[in-house]
């Protein structure tokens, strides 16, 4: 199950990057958050508390 979540996250992040789209996951349920933390993906993918900050981060031109 973990593998599925991680693979979806990683593939989405990579495809987004290739397509010039920002990937900004938000409001992760604790169990999902734990998977991102344990796998280390939360170190390379910015996670956001809610949709507002995620959308702000995803705006073109934002660092």
């Amino acid at each position: 199950m973990n593998v599925r979540i991680e693979t979806i996250g990683q593939t989405t992040a990579r495809n987004s990057q290739r397509a010039g789209i920002r990937f900004a996951p938000c409001a992760l349920k604790p169990a999902v958050r734990e998977v991102f933390d344990l796998s280390g993906f939360s170190r390379i993918i910015a996670l956001h508390p809610g949709r507002t900050t995620a959308l702000a981060h995803a705006q073109p031109g934002k660092a």
Partner: protein, 144 residues
């Protein structure tokens, strides 16, 4: 395909009982101390292998003392599901280590395997199940 693996890499110095390790996205190893307390080894959260190059993995160390048990496992253990889609989970694993960790390594492996099998019952196995238990019973030589 986007594939990755998790790794728990450790080196045990048999002379000193020092365990040096690094963790790349793997579940925390459990250390059952001789006095019965159980610690999840720190250092989790390192990135899985295969996701990105150039990642550095910090080295951690633990000192083993006589009576300690080190339990390594894959997530097929904690994510063995039963028929009602409930995961075996860390708590059941820790309870087995707590209850049966005083004995030798093969016994603890057997106990955990039986517990997981009984829990999953006839539900299909969702992931590989691998267990390694190390019994450390060597008394450290006195410091010269």
């Amino acid at each position: 395909m986007d594939l990755f693996v998790t790794v728990f890499y450790c080196v045990l110095d048999p002379a000193s009982g020092t365990l040096r390790y690094a963790n790349g996205g793997h579940n925390p190893a459990y250390l059952r101390r001789a006095n019965g307390t159980i610690e999840a080894l720190s250092g989790t959260g390192g990135l899985v292998l295969g996701a990105m190059g150039g990642i550095k993995y910090p080295e951690h160390a633990e000192q083993l003392v006589a009576g300690d048990r080190l339990v390594l496992y894959t997530d097929g253990v904690t994510e063995a599901f039963n028929q009602t889609d409930e995961a075996y989970g860390e708590e059941r694993l820790i309870a087995e280590i707590q209850a049966h960790g005083a004995g030798a390594a093969p016994e603890l492996v057997e106990r955990i395997c039986r517990s997981v099998a009984a829990f999953a019952d006839t539900a299909p196995q969702s992931d590989d199940i691998t267990l390694v238990v190390l019994s450390w019973d060597r008394v450290a030589p006195a410091v010269q």
